[in-house]
Amino acid sequence: MRIHRLRLANYRGVAAREVAFAERGVTVVQGPNEAGKSSLAEALDLLLEHYDDSRKAGVRATKPVGADVGTEVEAELSAGPYRFTYAKRFHRERFTTLTVHEPRPEQFTGREAHERVRAILAETVDLPLWRALRMVQGQAVEQPDLSEVSALAAALDVAAAGARGGEAEHTLLDRAQAEYLRSFTPTGQDNAWFKGLRAELDAAEAEAAEARRALAGLERDVEDAARIAGELEALRPELQRRRLLLEDLERRWTAVRERAAEVERLALRAERAEAAAQGAAREIAERARLTEAAEATAAAAEEALREQDASAPALEAAAAEEQRLQEQVTGLRAELSAARDAVRAALDAEARSKEAFSLELLEERWARVEQARAQAAQAREVLEDARVDEGAAAEIERAQLALAQAQARLADAGPLLRLEARQDVAVELDGQALDLAAGARHELPVTEEVRLRVGGLDAVLSPGQGLSALRDRLAEAERAWREACARAGVADLAEARGALRRRDDAERALAEADRVLRDNLRDLSPDELHGKAVRLRERLAAADAGADVDAARGAREHAERRVGELQDALEHAESALRETSARRAALRERHTGLALRAEQALAAREAAEAALAAARGAAADAGLGKRAAALAAEAAEAAQAAAAARASLEGEDPATLQAEVDNAREAAEKQRRELREREDELTTLRGRLSALGEVGLHDRLAAAETRLERAGTAWRQAERGAAAARLLYETLLRHREAARRAYVAPLREKLESLGRIVFGQDFAVELDDDLRVARRTLDGTTLDVEQLSTGAREQLAVLARLAVAAITAADGGVPVLLDDALGWSDPQRLERMAAAFHVAARDSQVIVLTCVPERYAAIGSATTVRL
């Protein structure tokens, strides 16, 4: 469809307007707001869709306010082979006219005109496409809805060489899917029906197997019954044979047992006869023994009495000896006691004499201690006073030497005063009277001021200042010497030396006294030593003064020897006594024993004699022999009879025979039991077979196999059908998917070629099933359309429409109508969009309504219409 011209009159605020559009390329209709741009787009719909007498709100709204005039719309359009002018007036003086110019002129008015236009459009124009390619204000960023657009589909089908298929193909796919879903779930699993068939087959198989098993069990029972019946037939004669054998054996056994009893009876008789004969023989022997015993006991009694008499004298002698020895021992014990007392007395005396001697020694030691202690006390007194030791003496000696040297130096350095008396003269020198004999000389070194008074004259001599240093040194040396002497408590060196000597003497005396003390005290203190001596003396004072030590020892030794001798004697006597006592006891015992024996022997003699007398009273010795002979003969006869009977049983072994009988009886019994068991078993089997016969196992198996057959057939058919359905559905689906991809390709390619102009070389899009842009890729980044900016989305929406228009243009197509689009685009993008417009609109009609003409100024090929 192409719009060539559009005219409005009395359309809302538009009194009159006529716009002509370029047949190809872009027509930009520009004008300020409310200049009636949107009315142009709206008016065409009004014209095409509504009758001139429509009372619809949209129609009524077109009436200009406050003017009672008719609203007119007239359009010149071409569509397919048709070109026509179509006009309507609404509200007042309504009319509809249609003038068809091509392919052949026609004229219509009123409803007829309206219907004719509808028919032409229906025949030639894809109305959904027309609606899809319009962009009206407010929905500018929406992508065109192309899902219902068959013109596009046709165009794309052509591009895809018809791969997409039509309704028939899609119906086929739907049916294949329905077929597929008979066996499978949408996710490709076996569905309940399909699984149910398999389950039925499994169940049928199980049932058939069970029935087969039951029948096989039955067959086994039948075979068992046959086998047992066969065995029974063999068992019965066998049992009969065993019974006969048993009877035979039992007869034999009874006969043997009777004979055995006879043998036993005879044996018993022989045994008894033998016993009687032996009894008689024993009686004879007993009689002889009794006689012998009587004689023997008499002899023994006599012997015993004799022995008893012989043992008495020895016993008496032993008693006397014992008496004597007893007395001897008693005497010796008394003597020994006395001798021991003597030894104790001697020991006491010896001890006292030893103590007296030690007292003497102690007192001597004590005297020496006393003396040493006095000596030590004296020495200590000396030492306490002595302040001079070796060091002090040496110091004094050094100080004295220094003093002498100082004096000598001073004297040598100073003047020397020499007095020479020419007559006796008394002078006073330094206050001291000095009488000088005439001719005498007195020299005095002047080391200090010297006053010499002679008469009324005082000569004062002064050594002068030159000696003062030496004098000071002298004074110093003198002071040192005095101090050393004072410390030692002596006047001078000689005194110091004497003091030192006395000190040494005292130290030596003290050391000597210490040594004496040590020697005499040893480990005791002086008090202990003294106490010991005092105590010993007191003790000795209480006792008699003893003999001397050696005498005491001699007395003691003598007493001890005596004790020893007595002890030996006593031991000897006691030993003898013990021996004698033992001997006497033995003798007494023997004597008592002999008395007892004699008594017993006498009793035995009496008993033996009584027994013999009694036996002889019962049977005389001569009768015994005759009876014994008779009994012996009888025993021999019985033994012979028993032996004969036993010999007759020789060859028959009753024990073996009995075992045979027992065995045969048990065997027969076992056989009988076995037979009975078999019969029972057979009865049981027959009972079971009879019961099972009622059940109709064969029919059950037949029914199960029928079910199995049917289930198997159903399953195999279903399985085969399912495989076919799956294969068909999946194959169709695979190809449809491939076709869809091929089909979408041209639109995508067109859109991408336009997009590259606007967005750059690295531009790609993905289209969804409804042919909408789903994702855009730019500079390697892929984004969902929803994530793009409003501007980009609007640009894509415009490009999509341009692309569709370009694709459908060859088949006539429809105009792209853009009402104030691209409000979101920046100037740079607008420039590029302009280029895209230029390219896309080469074969299609694009109408742009805008109040911002700058947006489209860059489209070089655009026709501009100003309102």
């Binding site: 009622e694 037949a702 194959t731 076709a739």
Partner: protein, 375 residues
């Protein structure tokens, strides 16, 4: 000359898994009805007795209903009926013939030949019987039964069951019936007719027509030859005649394999099916070979579907069939499919021509679905 009716292998109580419950019920009823028909034939032909040579019952372990009904029908036949235990109903511990039900319900005219040996059935006429006493006899029972016979002027009819050696596929089976000794016995005049059971096909053995299988009176399987008959036998020392009388009402049909290449071949099959009489009493097993295009395959499916309801059973014997679906250009053009569907068909076709069954099935399904769409 004695005249009697020789039959066997009634297999009462047999079921066939490929029959629906309804057909199975009719099949069972028909087999019982065949027994009645045997009675009618015997009466009509003036037979002295009916001799059933084994496998009277399908199993010893049948539902008692089968037994009681069978005995009731036999009781109504109006002449002596001799039953020989066979391999399906041997005289073992579980035997039907010794069950209390049998004893209670046995009609007076029914006799079980329950021991081997001679059974006088008429003056100068004896049955010589070889009943099975177990499922696996270890010797030739018939030979054993005939051992002590002497030609003494008695007319002897041997009643046996089992496979004869000349027909047996298993030479080592100790129970096979030796034909040669029987023929010697026949030649010596010790026996005069050998009535056999076990084989369901009507069969004559040896020279002189004195050794025969009567076959099953109603068919039981597709591989039987001329089942559905009984033999009316006239025999004496000099002569023997046996005449087959049909008694069956059912058929088990297995035609030669159909070679299918195009719609014409399918219509041949359709015609064959349409021409079959008594379809509700007929079980068919088809062997189909060849290859068909999509349309012809759909045609075949239609034909089979239509007839399946008519026959007691109509099956394609898959094991012995080899029918491929090979779509042809025309088929595909007829589909008028475009776009992705056409591509999918191309894929499937390539796979189908490569022999993939699933692809063939998928194409057939597509054809069906699409035709449904077009209709």
């Amino acid at each position: 000359m004695v005249r009697f009716l020789h039959t066997g292998d009634w297999q009462l109580g047999m079921t066939r898994a490929f029959l629906t419950d309804e057909a199975q019920a009719r099949f069972g009823a028909a087999r019982l009805e065949a027994v009645r028909e045997i009675g009618r034939v015997a009466q009509r032909e003036g037979c002295a007795f009916v001799l059933v040579c084994g496998d009277v019952f399908e199993s010893n372990h049948l539902d008692r209903q089968v037994l009681l009904r069978a005995l009731d029908v036999m009781g109504g036949l109006g002449l002596p009926v001799y039953l020989l235990p066979g391999n399906h109903d041997p005289l073992d511990a579980g035997s039907l013939f010794t069950s209390p039900e049998f004893a209670r319900a046995r009609p007076a005219n029914v006799t079980v030949l329950d021991r081997a040996g001679a059974w006088p059935v008429a003056p100068g006429v004896e049955l010589v019987t070889a009943p099975w006493t177990s499922k696996r006899p270890l010797r030739d029972l018939v030979a054993a039964a005939c051992e002590d016979l002497r030609a003494d002027g008695t007319v002897r009819v041997v009643a046996g069951h089992g496979c004869v050696d000349v027909l047996s596929p298993d030479a080592d089976d100790p129970a096979v019936i030796g034909l040669a000794p029987l023929e010697r016995a026949l030649a010596d005049g010790r026996v005069h007719y050998v009535a056999l059971g076990d084989r369901h096909s009507l069969t004559e053995l040896g020279a002189g027509g004195r050794v025969r299988y009567a076959g099953a009176p109603e068919p039981t399987d597709f591989d039987e030859v001329a089942p559905g008959h009984v033999l009316v036998v006239d025999v004496d020392a000099r002569d023997c005649r046996a005449e087959a009388h049909p008694v069956a009402t059912w058929r088990f049909a297995q035609p030669e394999p159909f070679a299918l290449r195009d719609a014409d071949d399918v219509s041949v099959l359709a015609t064959w099916l349409a021409e079959q009489p008594d379809k509700e009493r007929c079980a068919v097993r088809l062997r189909l070979v060849g290859s068909l295009g999509l349309r012809d395959m759909a045609l075949l499916d239609d034909v089979l579907d239509r007839h399946r309801e008519l026959f007691a059973s109509l099956r394609v014997w898959e094991r012995h069939s080899d029918l491929a679906l090979l779509p042809e250009e025309d088929d595909l053009a007829e589909l008028e499919l475009a776009g992705f569907a056409a591509d999918a068909v191309g894929d499937l076709r390539a796979a189908a021509e490569g022999g993939a069954d699933a692809a063939q099935d998928a194409l057939a399904l597509l054809y069906r679905l699409h035709r449904g769409a077009a209709a």
